[in-house]
Structure formats: C-alpha cells, structure tokens
C-alpha cells in the first residue's frame, strides 16, 4: 500500500466504512494533504466500496474539500455582501500584492493559496478571512498583511 492508501485505510478503521463515514474520511485527508488527490479519492472509494464517481461528486459539492493541489496554508477571504461592503476588495488586493499571486492561485513556494469564500458567519465583524481553520475578523489591509507575515515567519 502507498502512503496515501495506508492513511485512508487508517481513517476508515477509525470512522467505519458506511456511507456516512465518507465525509469525516474526506475531511481527514484534506486536513493532512490540503486537497483530495485522484489517488486519495480512489483509495476512499475502494475502502468504502463506493464508485469513484460518487466520491468525486461528494468532494466537488463542498467548497472546503478541494480536488486540486493547495498550498500549505489556505487563505479564504469572505466575498459575500457584508464583507463586500466592508471593503473585502481592498483586503484581497493587499494580499495579492503581498503574496504575489491572484485569487485562486498558489504561491510559487507552495506555502499559500489565496481563495474567496461565501459568507463565513462573521458578518457583524467583517471583513473576515480564514487561514486554514483560524478566523481573522475586522481586517484592515495592514492587519491582513501582518497575519500573513506571521504565518511566513512560523513556517521558516
């Protein structure tokens, strides 16, 4: 078994092999790899005796289950109306300049992927962004840049 197959096997041992184990297993893979590779989805399908198309269908339904490679840190800036009215465009522009990559792209050192997301439920404290699982509300362009710099420092 490859490393991925082993990992998926362990997740299946932990969460079981019924259909409702599919989500936690997929989330487990994303937590480790940041995305679902073709190999990982096949491994999941095999463990759960599902068709690969079914696994792919589920994965593509959820924004947070990526099926394309992502950087080590995934930044998601809320793009929905409240945050939009609180200048989310400025935040995005600042981050694009700081990271030197556009929304939807990954930095060349593979450390960051910059994405937008729909409402994150923090409308009262917008604009807001997520870095991996951590929420950063009440952003200013200055704050956003500092947060990213902090991640760069941590990963060096």
């Amino acid at each position: 078994m490859t490393n991925t197959e082993n990992f998926v096997h362990e997740l299946a041992e932990k969460h079981g092999r019924t259909r409702n184990a599919l989500m936690p297993i997929l989330q487990g893979v994303v937590a480790r790899d940041k995305y679902l590779s073709e190999e990982a989805m096949i491994a999941v399908a095999r463990e759960l005796d599902l068709s690969a198309a079914d696994v792919y269908g589920t994965a593509t339904f959820y924004t947070f289950l990526d099926t394309v490679p992502r950087g080590k840190n995934v930044i998601r800036v809320c793009k929905t109306i409240s945050c939009h009215m609180h200048n989310k465009d400025e935040i995005i522009k600042a981050l694009e300049e700081q990271l030197r990559c556009k929304v939807g792209e990954t930095t060349s050192d593979k450390k960051f992927t910059l994405l937008t997301a729909n409402c994150l439920g923090w409308c009262h404290k917008g604009p807001v962004m997520l870095v991996n699982d951590d929420v950063y509300p009440e952003l200013t362009t200055q704050k956003a840049i500092e947060i990213v710099q902090e991640y760069i420092r941590k990963s060096n």
Partner: protein
C-alpha cells in the same frame, strides 16, 4: 390485508386511492395528464425538476405531484392559473440554459423537453439566455454512448439508473449550483471509466444529453457502395420492438415486416442472429457439460463452476471491471452477434463466393454495448473486423423512415438462407431467462435423450421479471456416457439488470450460492429492455415485449436449438463438432481484467 384508502378530489372529481399513492398516479387514474421530467417508473423519486407541480387547496406552496402522497380530504388542481404559470416558468428556466438546437439534435422528435416546449409554444424568452455562458462539452470517446452536457437538464435520471438499476455509478452529480453537471470520476471521458456501455441511461434520459453513437451514415454509405456486399443480422429482441418507433403499440411482433423493410433498404442479404443464438446453445451447452464432467468426474480444480453466460456485452464489461476474479467462470462463447460476424466472413463468404474483404456485416441490436463489443480487438477472428457496424433498434427505425418505407403496409418476408434459419429457442434469447431455457432444452436432451420435463417445453420458473430467479432440474435416465449426472439436481440461477447480477455475484464470491449455471443479462428484462430499444421503457412495456417473444417461440415449427437444420449443417460442413478446434478459432473468446477505479 387491504391497504387503507384515502379520499380526495382532483379538479373537483372525487377519487379514492390506496394510502401512499402519489398525486401524480392518482391523477393518472382520472386521466389527468401531469407533465414530468425527472420522474421515471423504473426509478426512485427525485422531485428535482418541479415541472409536475399542482395546487393543493390550503397549501401555501405548490406541490411536486410525483413526490407528494395523497392525504384524506385533499383538494388538488392540476391546471389552475397558478399551476400553469409555474409550470411555464419551470420549463422556461430550463430552456434559458439549454442549447436548444433541435434541428441538429439526435433526439429531435423523441425528446420530452421538446415535447413540453411544443405544448406550451414559448415565444421570446422571459429569462436571460444563459446558453452563451455555459461550457459545452460533447463526449464522443465511447463507441457506444455519446454525452452532450449542453443538452442536460440535470434531472438525474441517468445517475439513478446507473446506481439503482445497474449498480455501476459511472455517472454522478458533480460540482454545485450553476456549475453542476452530470459527469464521471475526475470528469474523465466515458470510454475511460467503469461504464459498461449498457445504454440504460440513454433509455431514461428525457433529452438529447445521452444518446447512442450512431452509424447510420456509415451503413447507408456501405449500402450505396457497389463494391460492397452488405449482410445484415437482426437480434431476437428487435423483432418485438422496432414497431414501437414506427407507430405501433408495444408488444407487436413485426419479424416479417422488418425483413421486408431491410430488403427494400438495399441490404444484399437479410440474415438472423437467431441462427447464431442456436449455435451459441450448441457451444455453450457442450461447454457446460464438459465443465461439469471435468469438475465432477475428473476433479479438475482449474475448471470453474458455476458457469456463466457470456452473450450480453454490457454484463461482460461489468464483470471485467467489478468481479475480475470470476472471469474464469464466464463461458468462453462469443455473443451470438460476434459468432455471426466471424462465420459470415469465413464459412458464409466462401459459400456464396464473396471475398471477405468486400463484405460488410451490419448488426441490428437492441443494445448499445454491442457497438463497443464489435470494436474489441479480440473480435477479428475472420482476419477482418468480424462485425463492421452495430445499429440500435432505434437507428433501424430511423433508417426505415428515411427510406420512405410505410412499415405497417409491408407484406411479411422471410430471412435469406443460409444463416437465416432459427428456432423458438433462439428467439427467447431476447427475454431474461431465455438463454437458460434454451440451454436446458438442449442440454437435458443431450444428456437423457428425452425432452425437458416441462409442459410444452416451457420452463416457466426461469421466466418473468423477478430480479433473481432460481430453478432446479433433476436429471433422470441419463445416457451411459453421462451417467455421472444421473440423479444430479442441476441448480440454475438467472438475473437481469446489473444490480441484480451484482447480488448474485456477491453470493457466488462469498460461497453461499450453489449453482451449476447462471444466466445474466445486463439490461432489465433482458434484451427486450436493452439500451438500444425504443424509448420510452417501463415495466409494463417490457412485459408486453416479453409476451411477444414467448408468443414468437410458440409460433415456431422448431423450438430446440439442436434441431435447427442449418446448425446441423454448419457442423457437418465446416465446424466439425461443438467446442471442436474450428469452433474454438471462430466462436470462442477470452476476457480482459479491467480496473474498477
């Protein structure tokens, strides 16, 4: 126990129906037609298209009649102002993102969306035209199935078909919202995924989003080519179904008219796959008896039982993907279509003095998987591509119309000889259980010298639409050379539709099943419900086609394959004996393991 009855009114007319009935079905009983798109009699309820909405008195929202059960005292209106407007908008919204180039569409004239649009006579669209913003994707990778996402209304009938009836799930709903499409794993081409080419999704797709790869022009070109000798074979199930696409009701037997039409169209010889169905029985029956002898007497461990039939190419590909460990259990016999092809370009070509390279073999099949099968690299034992083109029953009907033939006015005609003679045993290949019944009629007689112990040769236990059928026959008075079978209880099983096949294969794999012989047909009902048969399909329509098949059997002079005089002759003249050397060269094949993932 009788079910609880519910009283309601539909368009002010009182009706009483069983608890659990949907509004849609209750309305049907009063002859009120409610349009549907995502609903299908073979599938679970999806309730996603909303075209079937009705007004229920007192309810704030309109109800999807296909997904709403009746309740006591309900008052339903199927054509109120509210309903009409909503229904119009639903269809209009679908059309606003639909690539409606009907004149270029293969489903033109056979499309449920087009039918609705024609009923409502839409003028200028009231919604924004989204078609220019949609990514079009036409997948022609498969020799059987064409998929055009620009025609898809996302009703998911195909997805449910592939999951519920076929247990394959090659298709799934992927992405969401405005990006939602029906696609495959990683959006791979259809030819690269687990699809069995069964075509059941095509049979249930209401639009032109899924249809067969068609070879109509290629076949006309061959017919018009003066240097080509074009031979056509017709599968058993086509003769009880092609009429449906030519204005007749389901269940019409049109064998003679179909032959007459093919003659008028200009084929050089009209021959019958039923002939090679009889030949299949000789080969497969002999193979079964040989396997039984090797397993029971010689204790040869390499011989695998139960033996499984191999005439359904959708089933074969399913097995290659899903149960490769059981490939040794498959009979090595080619399907009747391929036996025909290899014999046509060898034995027959010699007989009629035509060069095989000038011969074009066309098959009329109830099947889309046979289009894939004829392209398998194994299927060239004559030294040429054994079968050149496969047309579905539907494509044949289109060609008959193109040729300007008034089908119902045709006088019956007979198949040409040789390779045109057949028996009742061959025609029942078209219905689930038929191959089993035909094989038993012959094998029992080979072993005992007497007819199978069923009234009129009709082996009723293997007939009918039960998903998995079982039967046992005790062998009595075996001839001396078959004495090891004396008193043996032959256990057989029959399944149709790949979901049922899967159940049976799981039982075989786990060792809980104790069968000698298994018949599997990839499509629900067998070939009569094949992926190339006229659309629509339903349990009722398939039942009528099956009845017609058994009526055809009863009408035949000869009803046992081994008594087909042309079969007897081909062995004497050319093949030697069943499963002999020549047969192995031309009539048998092997299988390849394919990936499920």
């Amino acid at each position: 126990m009788s079910k609880y009855m519910v009283n309601l009114k539909i368009n002010n007319i009182p009706i009483s129906v069983e608890e659990g009935t949907t509004i849609l079905d209750a309305a049907k009983r009063l002859n009120f037609h409610i349009p549907t798109l995502c609903n299908h009699p073979d599938l679970s309820v999806a309730g996603n298209c909303r075209v079937c909405v009705v007004e229920v008195k007192g309810a704030r929202l309109l109800a999807a009649s296909c997904a709403t059960p009746v309740s006591e005292g309900m008052e339903v209106f199927t054509n109120s102002e509210k309903v009409r407007i909503a229904r119009k908008h639903v269809v209009e919204l679908l059309l606003s993102e639909h690539n409606a180039d009907c004149t270029k569409c293969f489903k033109n004239g056979h499309c449920e969306l087009q039918e609705l649009a024609s009923e409502y006579r839409y003028g200028d669209h009231i919604f924004i035209d989204l078609v220019p913003f949609k990514q079009k994707f036409l997948d022609i990778s498969s020799p059987s199935i064409t998929k055009d996402t620009s025609k898809c209304i996302r009703c998911q009938r195909c997805v449910r078909t592939c999951a519920e009836l076929q247990a394959v799930s090659a298709l799934a709903v992927v992405h969401k919202g405005s990006h939602q499409t029906i696609s495959t794993f990683m959006d791979k081409p259809m030819n690269d995924v687990v699809c069995t080419n069964c075509g059941q999704c095509i049979n249930r797709c209401p639009t032109g989003a899924l249809y067969e790869r068609n070879y109509i022009e290629d076949v006309w070109n061959a017919i018009y080519d003066p240097n080509k000798f074009v031979v056509v074979q017709t599968a058993p199930a086509t003769r009880v179904a092609v009429g449906e696409d030519l204005g007749l009701e389901p269940g019409h037997r049109v064998t003679g008219k179909m032959v007459a039409a093919l003659k008028k169209m200009g084929f050089n010889k009209i021959l019958d796959t039923d002939f090679t169905a009889d030949l299949t029985i000789m080969e497969e029956g002999t193979e079964l008896l040989t396997r039984l002898k090797k397993a029971l007497v010689d204790k040869d461990e390499t011989v695998k039982l139960p033996m499984m039939t191999s005439c359904s190419p959708g089933w074969i590909k399913f097995q290659e993907h899903m149960f490769p460990d059981l490939l040794p259990n498959l009979s090595t016999c080619k399907s009747p279509q391929q036996m025909f092809g290899s014999l046509a370009k060898t034995y027959y070509a010699d007989k009629i003095n035509i060069k095989a390279e000038n011969m074009v073999v066309v098959s009329i099949m109830p099947c889309t998987a046979k289009k894939f099968e004829c392209n398998r690299p194994e299927m060239r034992d004559s030294g040429f591509k054994d079968v050149d083109y496969v047309l579905t029953t539907r494509e044949l009907a289109m060609m008959i119309k193109q040729a300007g033939i008034e089908f119902d006015k045709l006088e019956d005609q007979h198949y040409d000889s040789i390779l045109g003679e057949s028996t009742g045993a061959a025609v029942i290949f078209g219905a689930t259980g038929g191959v089993m019944e035909a094989a038993l009629r012959t094998a029992y007689e080979i072993v005992t010298g007497s007819e199978v112990p069923f009234a009129n040769l009709n082996i009723k236990p293997v007939r009918g639409m039960e998903g998995v059928k079982e039967a046992s026959i005790k062998i009595k008075n075996a001839k001396p050379e078959w004495s090891f079978l004396e008193g043996v209880e032959m256990n057989v099983a029959v399944a149709h539709g790949l979901a049922n096949a899967k159940k049976l294969m799981e039982a075989v794999s786990s060792g809980t099943a104790n069968y000698h012989f298994i018949e599997i047909m990839g499509c629900p009902g067998g070939c009569i419900g094949g992926g190339g048969q006229p659309i629509p399909t339903s349990p009722e329509i398939r039942r009528k086609r099956a009845e017609a098949i058994y009526a055809e059997d009863m009408g035949m002079d000869i009803r046992k394959s081994h008594e087909n005089p042309e079969v007897v002759e081909v062995y004497k003249d050319y093949l030697g004996h069943p499963c002999g050397h020549q047969s192995h060269e031309l009539l048998h094949t092997h299988y390849v393991e394919r990936k499920r993932y």
